[in-house]
Symmetry: C2
Subunit: 184 residues, 2 copies
Amino acid sequence: MDLRVEKTKGSIANAFLSLRGRKPLEKITVKELCQLARINKSTFYTHYPDIFALSAALEREVVEAILADIPHPEGIFEHTEAFTQDLFRACNARSALIQTLFSGSREGRLIETLEAGLKELAFQRRPEYRQDPASHIVLSFVIYGGYYAYRKNLDCGLERVVDLVGRLSRQVGDFFPPGAEEQP
Amino acid sequence: MDLRVEKTKGSIANAFLSLRGRKPLEKITVKELCQLARINKSTFYTHYPDIFALSAALEREVVEAILADIPHPEGIFEHTEAFTQDLFRACNARSALIQTLFSGSREGRLIETLEAGLKELAFQRRPEYRQDPASHIVLSFVIYGGYYAYRKNLDCGLERVVDLVGRLSRQVGDFFPPGAEEQP
DNA sequence: AGAAAAGAGTTGGATAAACGACACAAGACG
DNA sequence: CGTCTTGTGTCGTTTATCCAACTCTTTTCT
């Protein structure tokens, strides 16, 4: 990528995160962002249509980085337990960033973006599942289940939650391919 | 100034000072500077002919900043004592920067650049002295005198040196216009 | 409500910076 | 010694960014 683009996007991201740490997304103006990032307003618009698109792009990037950080992504089906644990680890390593990026009105975007990323990862491994509605259901089930099991039970201790969710995920993993049940 | 130029020069300066803090000027290559500053080599050459010119430019800038920091530069002749004290203060506020920029082979450049800046300041106040050799002599005398009185007697305590140099400067200031002596 | 200020987005033209290639010089190394 | 690497400095082309000006919308203030 062009060095100029890299630097520009970097300073936009920095400025955005700095502002986002102090105020909700909808109160951030393009003008102040550009002043902080020391770029021209028109330069911002060559990269993002508006602030929300910028936030969405950064959200996707974080999720991408999280998934790229998992040692053995190919084990998403075969070693679901280890995969889940690595996923939690990768998220934990970015807790501060996640907190600022996904706070306020962006609360629900983390799990949604994660779901999309995880499904993409899964379907790259098993393309034949992509058109199978049952696979989508099972994946959504385990992803959202794991997420909210985590969110709603933090007081149980992180390790315990991760351990249990990991084992539950493995159980669910045994259901694949889910469509098979319907044609015995 | 164009925002692009500002940012480029800024990152060049930062990279240079960072390198300069670790190695002598003549060991700094254009290549590593550009890598650190994250700019293209050709961009460097559009601003500076070589590393030495860069260093010289930064040296001048520091001296400019020091002089611009003196509350009442117009008092260079009438209130030499206060002027001297303010000058020492302004230098002290940049001691770290000065140390890295004027170390090694650049040792002597601080006082030389300071002399040029102070003379320029003086001659802007009294343009009629600019062509007068005697004025140059007296100014060089007081500037270098003050500088080395400071450098060679740091163990006497800063305040004492500044106080004495300030009073001496005032004595010398009374000699102006120096050419007058020769035509009684 | 109505004026004034501030922000959103767009556009056209100017230009700084990036890129890649090049010839050349200097130092390292076997 | 020759070769090989590393850095220097330049050039032509492409492109990202800047800038200034503009309209339109939103917010703020009285």
